[in-house]
Symmetry: none
Subunit: 143 residues, 2 copies
């Protein structure tokens, strides 16, 4: 498990607990004490160590996740974010948006979709993205 045995919470400092957790994990990542792929303690483990509600730890983890520092995975655990290897980063940069787009259209075509169908699906999403800055989240589907 992640080496977070030395986290210290000051309950009287006036600074929220979840921010104290966030700050200290950030420092450990910055200093290299925590490396990509390292697993952090579960929200319940860390909460028990710190004598704190696990939702408070979950809140800290959520912030760090949104900041891209860690990756929390439902049912699996929480990990320091794995930076893509330099090669794949380079590949992505080189291939870029056009390549990504070609592949997307090819996959859509293989599904048997027409250009019209693709346009009808992607245009609203693009519009929404442009206006709200939000990407559509996958909705749960049922059968």
């Amino acid at each position: 498990m992640g080496s977070l045995n030395d986290l210290v919470i000051d309950f009287r400092s006036g600074q929220p607990i979840y921010l104290q957790i966030v700050e200290q994990i950030r420092q450990k990542v910055a200093s290299g004490e925590l490396k990509p792929g390292d697993q952090l303690p579960t929200v319940r483990q860390l909460a028990a160590e710190l004598r704190v509600n696990f939702n408070t730890v979950a809140r800290a983890y959520r912030l760090l996740d949104e900041a891209g520092l860690i990756s929390t995975q439902h049912g699996r655990g929480t990990y320091i974010w794995e930076t893509p290897s330099p090669e794949t980063l380079q590949t992505i940069r080189q291939q870029g948006l056009e390549s990504l787009t070609r592949r997307y259209l090819a996959q859509a075509a293989q599904l048997g979709c027409t250009a019209e169908e693709v346009a009808k699906v992607i245009n609203p999403m693009l519009e929404r993205w442009r206006e709200s800055g939000e990407l559509p989240k996958p909705e749960p589907q049922e059968f």
Copy 2:
């Protein structure tokens, strides 16, 4: 065994793993890449490939089974059951397209692209596809 060597799981997407499996198998059936009678990998094989618990694969298979797309047989294996009716095929295509599109936009966003940039790239390609029926060849991609 079934050709599921190219299934890709994104552990950070927020979409449950079992749904990612379901979605990609549905797409392969809809596109004809998987045909009735084809045997799928066993739950343990696929789980090992994807680095996932086999119960997660079993859950995906169960959903597909309940949807009538595959037939899982205790002690024997799992097989594609039938090509869905045209209506369900259409539904699958639609959902698959939406799923593909979300992934595409997410990847574009990760590249740092804006909605405008994406539109500027994809619209000409769509236009050309609509008019000439041709779409640019994607170069092979791995990751």
